[in-house]
């Protein structure tokens, strides 16, 4: 008997109303790239620890007469190692191939997608675009995670292709572990709330940096009587997210084009729950404190703010920090490292919260077990930041 676990097909994803259609070979290409990610994380990455322990670390100690003190010292010597270089080249390539595949697929059906999106969005006041909103420097200066056009680029009028391609590729980069609607993050928060705080019934929810709304939708479904407001700066994402939610029969979300650094349209203490998923590591040292102050201003007393991220670096070995930090330099995530170095409680303090009230909790993406298998999340190998196992941080406002 083989001990090799099998992966689901990209075809297992739910075909919501604006899901791009894959032909046979496009689906096959996405499946191969998903497997390639799994191969790199489960079979190639373990060799990096051996490289470090057997060669790179002893050579460093011999040369310097001391242990490496920072991940940057580890990075300098590891990136000179041939095995690490080959893994890095393969990983970067896999990411680039995933974008090319997704983009080729959505661009050939760009008109059909725009028409479906326009049809679903027509006449709805729950999509509120604001052309005066500018794209902030933290996402305009570099195409985050190597996605050409980032979240906001429009190639022609009514274009939604960068959003559709992002939706298509979440399955590939997480090896299918986010579930059939790639909504495991939102589901994880909703399930944690229902299990741990069953009496908490938020009436007004704000989701920051919502992209295609994949994490706002499960929150809106978990609290059908709540009004959910999902904000982002990116026009194509908001158009696509609104149509996607409508097609799933979810009507209690407004998708609003706005910058979290300042949300003057919302009154002080007007939200019961403020969430985000993998949002803060794409911020900047200028933007993050302003955004946290906005969260502090908007959150009601007794309200909750909770955010999914990867764990902070503090307390981890310099080797593990180096592994987790690869994306900072090599996957166009320049703020990934700086954000994971922050003392989050201190940041919350500075924003006007009581930072000592901050909690951290591990939440795991809840996936559709009948399609994706029960134990898939735990068996795919350590990917140092790519697997959808999150550290959530947050606090209840006093």
């Amino acid at each position: 008997m083989s001990n090799v676990k099998t992966l689901p097909s990209w075809r297992a994803l739910t075909q919501h109303g604006v899901m791009p259609q894959a032909n046979h070979d496009e689906a096959a290409r996405l499946n191969v790239l998903t497997h390639l990610n799994l191969h790199l994380s489960s079979r190639v990455i373990p060799g990096l620890r051996q490289v470090y322990e057997k060669h790179v670390h002893p050579a460093f100690v011999k040369e310097h007469g001391r242990e490496p003190e920072t991940r940057h010292e580890v990075r300098k010597v590891m990136m000179e190692d041939g095995y690490c270089q080959l893994w890095s080249a393969l990983r970067r390539n896999t990411m680039e191939m995933r974008h090319q595949t997704g983009r080729a697929m959505v661009l050939r059906q760009a008109d059909a997608l725009s028409k479906k999106v326009e049809q679903l969005n027509k006449g709805c006041d729950t999509l509120q675009l604001d052309p005066t909103i500018e794209v902030p420097a933290n996402i305009s200066q570099v195409d985050i995670h190597c996605q050409p056009g980032c979240y906001y680029q429009e190639y022609y009028d009514q274009d939604v292709t960068v959003a559709a391609s992002y939706d298509v590729g979440l399955f590939v980069t997480t090896a299918g572990l986010l579930g059939a609607l790639s909504d495991g993050g939102g589901q994880a928060i909703a399930n944690w709330l229902k299990a741990e705080h069953p009496n908490f019934k938020p009436k007004r929810i704000l989701d920051l940096g919502c992209t295609v709304g994949h994490n706002a939708v499960p929150l809106a479904q978990a609290f059908p009587d709540a009004e959910v407001i999902a904000i982002d700066v990116a026009t194509p994402c908001l158009r696509y997210a609104h149509a996607r939610a409508k097609s799933l029969g979810v009507d209690n979300i407004s998708f609003v084009q706005a910058n979290v650094e300042s949300l003057p349209q919302y009154a002080d203490e007007s939200f019961d729950l403020i969430t985000s998923a993998m949002f803060w590591h794409e911020a900047s040292h200028k933007m993050l404190p302003k955004a946290l102050k906005t969260v502090q201003r908007l959150l009601k007393p007794e309200g909750l703010t909770i955010h999914l991220e990867q764990p902070q670096y503090h307390g981890k070995s310099v080797f593990e920090q180096f592994m987790r930090d690869w994306d900072t330099y090599n996957n166009n995530e320049p703020y990934w490292g700086p954000m994971h170095d922050l003392d989050l409680a201190e940041q919350l303090d500075k924003a006007g919260f009581d930072g000592s009230a901050m909690f951290e909790v591990g939440v795991v993406a809840k996936v559709d077990e009948k399609i994706f298998g029960k134990s898939a999340a735990g068996d795919s190998g350590e990917d140092f930041g790519r697997a959808p196992v999150w550290n959530a941080f947050g606090l209840w406002k006093k």
């Binding site: 570099v142 022609y156 330099y329």
Partner: protein, 130 residues
């Protein structure tokens, strides 16, 4: 701040899909191998490997469709949705395929832990006299 949040073209007829699909992400691309052209050849090899895997899957679909329907139909292949059993078999095939084409990486990993000797070293040891 930048105001890149607007389109520059009126219609999708004005876009070049081939160029746009493969376009470079903004931000300097890191190269990892000592020789940039070797890395470019690696990139091409991985793309070719992916395309061969896709061809293999298409053949698998063709065979499955032929077996199921007894006819050759391009549309049937386009629409073919593999059963859970087929999906599992393909997943295993794909993992075996990737392990084959990336064998050199696996062997490098093994050599790191095995401390293999070179033939020259072995020759020296085997030809030592008392």
């Amino acid at each position: 701040m930048t105001s890149a949040n607007t389109s520059t073209k009126k219609s999708s007829a004005d876009i070049d899909i081939l160029d746009l699909a493969g376009t470079k992400a903004k931000g300097q691309r890191p190269y990892f191998l000592a020789d940039k052209q070797v890395e470019q050849v690696l990139s091409i090899a991985m793309a070719v490997a992916t395309e061969l895997a896709v061809t293999r899957e298409r053949l698998a679909s063709l065979e499955a469709v032929l077996a199921e329907k007894g006819i050759i139909s391009a549309d049937a292949i386009e629409q073919f949705s593999p059963s859970a059993k087929h999906t599992a078999a393909r997943s295993l095939d794909t993992q075996e395929y990737l392990a084959r084409i990336l064998r050199i990486v696996q062997q490098d990993k093994e050599e790191i832990s095995q401390d293999d000797k070179s033939m020259e070293q072995l020759q020296r040891e085997l030809t030592q006299t008392d």
